[in-house]
Amino acid sequence: MKKITLLLFVTITAFACTSEKKETMEVTPVVADISIEDGWARPGKAGMMSAAYFRLENTTDIADTLVSASSNVSNNTQIHLSYEKDGLMVMEEQEFVPVPANASVMFKQGGLHIMLIQPDNDINEGDSVAVELTFKSGRTLSAQVPVRPATGMKMDMQGH
């Protein structure tokens, strides 16, 4: 048991040193490698509401934290979370979203989402939306996500 504690201590110290090095010296920054996977945005009308969803995939041993989001379709792009509270559906802006090491974080309907508030133009099926995410480490990540109805919402019934 002592050995494990010692090992843990060494590991933590090692990590602490790594992150300190990153901030104080001009070495190759050690940041998490996070990618945006399976992104999509809901179609919407100019001046109304839309949202973008994706999965953040962190394949490294380093955690990071999402701190802001922006997009090319709306100057008011926010990180939100929907959840149930006392029998009501509630939506809250999120100051940050932790992305743990070797983990994925789902942005999906009924949960975390990137709010595209009052887009300047219609967001039509077949278009794409540029989403840019900024992390606490300073790293930014961008992706073009396709605009489409939610999965399982193929509009075949209208012969569209």
Binding site: M48, E84, K85, V90, Q109, M115, A150, Q158
Partner: protein, 193 residues
């Protein structure tokens, strides 16, 4: 303590009674609400829908996440049911902003047919309507947009209901859960037999 067996018996009878007769959740038969749809066509609810099963939900169009999810569930029910005699309604609880024009734009995003309509009305009427189906709302976060106008969001109940041809609500489920369309389709198929 000696009344306990009697109490239990009463409880069992009560539960039994609930299971055997079709349960009425909200009786709207003698209510009357003057509403308008997304094309500004006036409707009287529930009278105009009597004789049909109505699947209905409660939304607002400034809702970017949950309400589209509820709308998608209604769409899925309509598609899987494939019965043109069933009416689908989404009633806004935000009539101040959800004018017929706004609802019309919202409807167009989802490519819906004439059996799927969005309803709004005078604020007072909508409030009374929402009370009658026990839909609660409260203003939650508000944010200021670039042009300086206040943009608010609403916390709200999340449900889909089925009203029978007489105007009685007989089925109620959570609105946004992915498991709900299947359950409602099963229930309706049984009722429509």
């Amino acid at each position: 303590m000696k009344y306990l067996p009697l109490l239990l018996l009463t409880l069992f009878i009560a539960i039994g009674a609930c299971n055997s007769s079709p349960e009425v959740i909200d009786d709207l038969t003698d209510r009357s609400f003057e509403l308008v749809d997304q094309d500004s066509v006036e409707v009287t609810f529930p009278d105009d829908y009597k004789g049909k099963y109505v699947v209905m939900s409660f939304i607002y169009t400034n809702c970017p996440d949950i309400c589209p999810l509820i709308t998608q569930n209604l769409i899925k029910i309509q598609k899987d049911l494939d019965n043109p005699d069933v009416q689908f309604l989404a009633v806004t609880f935000d009539p101040k902003r959800d004018t017929p024009e706004t609802l019309s734009k919202y409807k167009s995003v989802f490519h819906l047919d004439e059996n799927f309509n969005f309803l709004t009305g005078e604020e007072e009427t909508i409030n009374a309507f929402m009370d009658s189906v026990r839909v609660r709302t409260q203003v939650s976060l508000s944010t200021t947009t670039q042009d300086g106008t206040e943009l608010y969001f609403l916390n709200h109940s999340d449900k889909i209901m089925v009203m029978n041809p007489e105007g009685k609500v007989i089925i109620e489920y959570g609105g946004s859960q992915p498991s709900v369309p299947k359950l409602i389709v099963q229930d309706l198929n049984r009722l429509l037999k």
